[in-house]
Amino acid sequence: MPISAWHIEGMVMDILFKVLIDPFLQMGAMPDLFVQTIWDGFVTGVLYALIALGFVLIFKASGVFNFAQGIMVVFAALTLVGLYEMGLPAPLAVLVTLGVMFVLAVAIERVVLRPLVNQPDIILFMATFGITYFLIGLGELIFGGNPKQMITDQLYLPRGAIEVKMLGGFVQFQKIDIAAAVIAVVMIVALAVFFQKTRIGRALRAVADSHKAALSVGISLNQIWVIVWFTAGIVALVTGIMWGARSDVSFGLQVIALKALPVLILGGFTSVPGAIVGGLIIGIGEKLGEFYWGPLVGGGIESWLAYCIALGFLLFRPQGLFGDKIIERI
């Protein structure tokens, strides 16, 4: 017996070591790699944040949990590229795409939201599924199903990478990633301003609180919905460009929409800063996890790690990082 006892104990120690200590040793051993991973995570996080942002905008203003945000990203990117391929100059293509997104917003408001006003959330949620399916079909019908190259250069987005020598190694920063980060920040700031300063923005915030309040500001709900969905559309477009620039434009992209869910959970459905912080946490968390712990279980844990992080988190703070505490009344 002692032998096997030894044996088991050995195994346990081994596992504990692999899980609890070894990863950190690795980090310490190659800080440059560590930073690299963090950076990668950060960028992914930014993109998650952007999608989450789309969700939050819509959820805040219309209480709709817009599952279609992901496909909107894809759709926007596809349209852009598609238009370009049809021979429009890039800047024009961007404008037209914006136009398309606007039309989309209007259409959704008319066809989906207005008839379904005052329906339970789950129904609206389902409706956005409908939208998703519709857009998938439409996108593929028009632009075909196969992946496309994002027109990075034509949009004057930088290529290549900067290699910074640090921590006894090289850390590589893709210019596009930096750009992405910068643009994301710019956009978030812009949105913040839009919400704080402009009349419409205030109205939107009002809607978030109560619909009556919004009306008192003198903007009809329908207008607000259009605006919000359009804004979400813009966010989607930017996200699409960024993401497309890093990999390529395909329907596989829509899966990242699902990734935005745990982000939302961390950040809370109604909080813009929450979305961002959440995005970063998830992004970095899952990259680190994949890189350092993934191998232990054969990798690929990226696919669910995010959710489990979120789940664990939920159990302690059901209302999310920035969400406000729910007091149930009866």
């Binding site: 949990f65 066809v111 989906v112 008839p115 379904l116 329906q119 339970p120 959330d121 789950i122 129904i123 949620f125 389902m126 409706a127 599924f129 409908g130 939208i131 998703t132 399916y133 519709f134 857009l135 998938i136 079909g137 439409l138 593929e140 019908l141 199903g145 899966v255 699902l258 869910l261 745990p262 939302l264 959970i265 459905f269 279980v297 054969g298 690929g300 844990i301 696919s303 669910w304 959710y307 489990c308 979120a310 789940l311 939920l314 159990l315 059901p318 149930e328 009866i330």
Partner: protein
């Protein structure tokens, strides 16, 4: 109009509380069963069985499962696909470990495993509500899916990494595997579905069903009435996942005849079944069947229907159109009848009962 209820009065509670109190309904059900059990197997073409009835039945079972959770108890789940997977793999392991035990037994038994897993992932449901819960179930979906592909033991280290369905017999007739006749598979499946449906409706008509609905309609009030939320919700998860599990096993063994988790039990499957439940009608047994029929048959109908209408389609385009149409139809249905086909059915029935009066 066909209803003749006059003179149907109940002299004891048992009759009054029957699932089908109206004579004409009982007749109707009997007819349907006869058709399903006798007419279709005899008269039905292979096509009807393989690409209409069998998928329909499998999905019906799954949507009953989800309906119990989402429709009756009001808990959204996006993990149905994964729970089905658990069933499938459980069944696979069981039948390979104990080949001598009859496959049908295992198909049903595998439900218990998915029930177990369901409870596990249901645990958060006490604290988490609505979309948050949906996300929690997504965790289940992805984690389990990951397990299916990353844990070779589950698929017996097949090179293909997929479930391979062997020959299994019932009363000496092949019911699974390549040699099993469609009819045999259909009959087995149909029997399972019928029995489980009956059981489900029993549960829903009793104390448990009521506490489910109580939790759905007004969980606070339910709790203040002494209904233990956690227990109830977990039970809902268990029952629901059981059905999903059986559906999954049935899907693999009686329909696909083997396959790989990522295409059979992926997130889209979960969504699809959610659609069925919503379109069919939340909180309605018959709705689950309507929904399953609608969603599972729609693509087939379009694939063969549109060309028939003289719209020539390449396979791909057809697929895209299907997507568009499904999407549009979902929205359409949500708008015209948020309570799903079941409600339409109910209204129609009411009209028939009140005929010739409008109400």
């Amino acid at each position: 109009m066909f209803y003749r209820e006059t003179g149907q009065f109940k002299t004891n509670y048992a009759d009054d509380m029957a699932v089908f109190p109206i004579l004409q309904d009982r007749i109707g059900i009997a007819l349907i069963l006869v058709v399903a059990f006798v007419v279709i197997p005899l008269a039905g073409s292979n096509f009807l069985l393989s690409s209409v009835m069998i998928p329909f039945l499998v999905f019906s079972l799954a949507s009953i499962g989800l309906n119990i959770l989402t429709g009756y108890t009001g808990l959204i789940s996006l993990g149905t696909g994964a729970f089905m997977g658990v069933g499938a793999y459980a069944c696979y392991k069981l039948t390979t470990l104990f080949p001598e035990v009859n496959i049908v037994v295992w198909i049903v038994a595998s439900g218990f495993f998915s029930a177990l897993v369901g409870v596990l992932f249901g645990l958060p449901s006490l604290r988490i509500k609505g979309f948050y819960l949906a996300v929690a179930t997504l965790a289940a979906q992805f984690f389990l899916q990951w397990c299916f592909t990353r844990i070779p033991w589950l698929y017996n280290y097949n090179a293909s990494g997929a479930i391979e369905v062997g020959q299994r017999t019932l009363f000496g007739i092949n019911v699974t595997g390549a040699k099993a006749s469609l009819e045999a598979r259909y009959m087995v499946l149909l029997t399972i579905v019928t029995v489980l449906t009956w059981v489900a409706s029993n549960i829903m008509h009793g104390r448990i069903g009521r506490s489910f609905m109580a939790v759905r309609d007004m969980d606070i009030a339910a709790e203040l009435m002494g209904i233990d939320l956690l227990k109830t919700k977990l039970l809902a998860f268990a029952v629901s996942s059981f059905y999903a599990g059986v559906a999954g096993a049935a899907m693999m063994f009686l329909w696909y005849g083997g396959g790989e988790a990522n295409d059979a039990f992926n997130i889209n499957q979960s969504f699809l079944i959610l659609f069925m439940v919503i379109i069919g009608g939340l909180g309605s047994m018959i709705g689950s069947f309507f929904g399953a029929a609608f969603i599972s048959m729609l693509p087939t109908v379009l694939k063969f229907g549109l060309p028939a209408l003289g719209i020539p389609l390449a396979g791909a385009t057809a697929e895209h159109l299907t997507y568009i149409l499904v999407g549009a139809l979902i929205i359409f249905f949500l708008i015209v009848e948020p309570h799903g086909l079941a409600r339409l059915w109910q209204i129609g029935k009411q009209k028939l009962r009140m005929w010739p009066f409008p109400y």
